[in-house]
């Protein structure tokens, strides 16, 4: 989620439909992982604050509004948390008005209440978000095991409040609910909707529903947080969908982001449910995984930045040449294939965000989520088929795989093992040939001369895809033929292409590729005569390439020898004689 600017978008009082005498003050922020939206509800009997948020300044603002409400009609204050994640409550911890039990009663589902009272840093995401909090007293444990169905219980609190709370399981799809009456005015109904966290609740007053983080619960990086449960989430999403319909809900107020009309919310709930159904066995997003994912996010975004800039530049180049040839129509079509300005803005936003983190408090999960957001937007702007028809398909393919590798890691999926037995010499030869030969032969260009459409297509590809190794002296040597290895051929192809591009791009005009068997391993060595500046960016590139080598099923070392970079990829060798005849590579 992107950083918000701290300014609320919507802070106007409005009546609550279906709840005469009640009013709502929504404080809606731009979406981020630091602080939630907040909502103040008033009835003649009570002031209810839902989710004070994660920022002290937000809490101060809410306190001023609550102070005005109390000056008009002094009523008890209840603070309900849709769940006990720090971004929904920690902002109030500096203020005694909120923390003193004589002034405000906190109401949290039982599991969240226990976590807050015991100072649990895992359930509250305090560890992951690196936001400390003090244990706090929760006056009203919602869905406490001590209450029984259909029995009303009267409760009184140190701040003078008296409530009647009634529990039943007659909510939509049997969703447990508690109806809380604060007096003769409108009541509040709370539904237990676990999934995003065990303590997640939705709150209804009149025809409004407050859903906390339910609509984000299947999002990459959010799904898999400690306490997340696919099974209960799917159930809760379906039940809330029924609730909206049966209770005649008009507007849905989410924990983050804009107010949602009920019809849109229904559509979103169905989409989130479909996403959630595909999230079986995802890894938990705990601090260690967040740190690993954040490191990959940084390396990945460096490469994404470079690849998208190169692709955009390549299209500009094609457009420039076509313009020179007087083909301005084709030039415009070509340059429109990538929204360079939008991509620049996205990449710039991530760069600025990463720089801010580097100079301030570095919270890995924030970087993880920001990269996820940028990558999702890039995915939506990325027309692979049309781009591949003009610029080097290897660039497009690698950009696509980079985006999908990050999304896979962010979502917590275990990537499938795509390793298979293949001939390293054949793979290497195919990569080198693909980067040496133009996409269409001269004969194909000549034979397309009578067909305008075919000629345009071939012309664009010839301009847009010049062979990378055309002007480079490449030597390929191998002692064993075939040289069988067990690797992921697609990731190896990407790895070798990255290395060759890196060498040619930084000035190499001579590259040697050799492959050999060594005991139980096979080794491919790529050496180029590009100068060696040893910049931090270069080291990041190497770290990225080492990760890519691991995904290819091997390992990579980078050395410098006699002024040349030497990349050595090592993978497990396969012996032809050990394979069954039908599996032998011919």
């Amino acid at each position: 989620m992107p950083p918000g600017d701290g300014k609320p978008d919507s802070i106007e009082w409005q009546p609550v439909p279906g709840a005469p005498g009640a009013a709502l003050y929504p404080l809606i922020r731009k979406i981020d992982a630091i602080s939630s939206n907040s909502y103040i509800l008033t009835t003649p009997d009570v002031i209810i604050l839902i989710d004070p948020g994660g920022l002290p300044e937000q809490a101060e603002h809410l306190l001023r509004v609550i102070g005005t409400c109390r000056a008009e009609n002094n009523r008890p204050l209840f603070v309900f948390l849709t769940h006990a994640h720090t971004d929904h409550f920690v902002g109030i911890q500096a203020d005694p008005v909120f923390t003193h039990p004589d002034t405000a009663v906190f109401a949290v589902q039982q599991a969240g209440a226990c976590a807050l009272e015991s100072g649990d840093t895992t359930v509250t995401q305090s560890d992951l978000m690196q936001v400390p909090f003090f244990p706090m007293k929760v006056g009203l444990h919602l869905f406490s095991g001590e209450r029984h169905d259909l029995c009303s219980e009267d409760m009184s609190f140190p701040n003078g409040a008296r409530i009647t709370i009634t529990r039943d399981k007659t909510g939509p799809a049997g969703l447990p609910r508690e109806r809380i009456e604060f007096g003769p005015g409108p009541a509040l109904t709370v539904y237990h909707t676990p999934g995003h966290s065990p303590d997640s609740i939705c709150l209804q007053i009149g025809e409004l529903l407050f859903t906390g983080d339910l609509l984000f619960a299947a999002s990459p990086g959010i799904a898999g947080l400690t306490g997340w449960s696919q099974e209960t989430l799917i159930y809760s999403l379906g039940a809330v969908e029924m609730l909206i319909v049966k209770e005649g809900i008009q507007l849905v107020f989410s924990g983050h982001g804009r107010v949602i009309p009920a019809t849109d919310a229904l559509r979103m709930l169905r989409a989130v449910r479909a996403d959630a159904c595909g999230l079986a066995n995802i890894a938990e997003m705990e601090p260690d995984r967040a740190a690993r994912t954040a490191a990959f996010a940084g390396d990945c975004m460096e490469q994404v930045n470079e690849l998208f800039t190169i692709m955009s530049g390549r299209l500009q180049y094609v457009s420039f040449i076509l313009d020179e040839l007087g083909e301005s129509g084709m030039a415009d079509q070509s340059s429109a294939l990538i929204r360079g300005d939008m991509i620049d803005e996205l990449l710039e936003a991530f760069h600025n965000f990463a720089e801010e983190q580097r100079h301030g408090q570095d919270v890995p999960i924030h970087r993880v989520l920001k990269a996820g957001q940028v990558i999702a937007k890039l995915e939506r702007t990325f027309n692979r088929d049309e781009l591949s028809a003009i610029i080097n398909p290897s660039l497009v393919r690698r950009a696509g795989r980079l985006l999908s590798d990050y999304t896979t890691m962010l979502r917590g999926f275990t990537p499938p093992n795509e390793c298979s037995d293949c001939d390293l010499n054949a793979l290497t030869g195919a990569v080198v040939t693909g980067l040496t030969v133009p996409p269409f032969t001269d004969d194909e260009v000549l034979s397309s001369a009578d067909d305008d459409v075919a000629f345009s297509r071939i012309l664009l590809a010839r301009i847009g895809t010049p062979p990378l190794l055309a002007d480079v002296e490449v030597t390929v040597l191998s002692e064993d033929d075939p040289l069988l290895v067990c690797i992921d051929p697609e990731h190896f192809t990407d790895l070798l292409t990255y290395i060759l591009e890196d060498q040619v791009g930084t000035g190499a005009d001579r590259i040697e590729i050799s492959a050999r068997r060594s005991d139980r391993t096979a080794i491919v060595t790529v050496a180029g005569n590009a100068p060696s500046p040893g910049t931090p960016q270069e080291r990041r590139t190497w770290r990225f390439l080492q990760g890519l080598a691991e995904r290819a099923g091997g390992s990579l070392t980078v050395n410098e020898r006699e002024g040349m970079h030497q990349f050595e990829f090592t993978a497990p060798a396969v012996y032809q004689t050990l394979l069954k005849p039908e599996h032998r590579v011919k």
């Binding site: 470079e306 800039t309 190169i310 500009q316 094609v318 313009d323 360079g340 620049d344 990378l468 930084t506």
Partner: protein, 110 residues
């Protein structure tokens, strides 16, 4: 981003320092346009201090190449850092305008 301009024997040398990104690419475009407006049509960009160029920055360079293609015009870039050189090469820009290892080598050919 900082841009400093020096005129030497009829050549305009613009030394650029910093990132050429969404925010700063228009500054570079403005600096070049100003020089061309003054009648300076032999422009060398010194990129030794440029650590990053975005696609917006590449667009400014192509636009300059289009403006400076009359007989007698000169436009070149020198002293590129490896990361920027890589983007230029792989995007195909090295075949549009001249790239030199150093300022001296660039001016020696003009």
């Amino acid at each position: 981003m900082d841009i400093s301009a020096v005129n030497r024997e009829g050549n305009t040398i613009l030394s650029v320092n910093g990132r050429i990104d969404t925010l700063t690419a228009p500054e570079l475009e403005q600096a070049i346009t100003t020089e061309i407006g003054r009648g300076n049509r032999k422009i060398l960009l010194v990129f030794s201090g440029v650590s990053y160029i975005s696609s917006g920055g590449l667009r400014v360079l192509l636009s300059t190449a289009k403006k400076l293609k009359n007989p007698g015009d000169k436009f070149a870039i020198c002293s590129l850092q490896p990361e920027v050189l890589k983007v230029f090469k792989l995007a195909g820009f090295t075949s549009i305008f001249s790239i030199y290892p150093s300022e001296g080598e660039a001016l020696a050919t003009w």
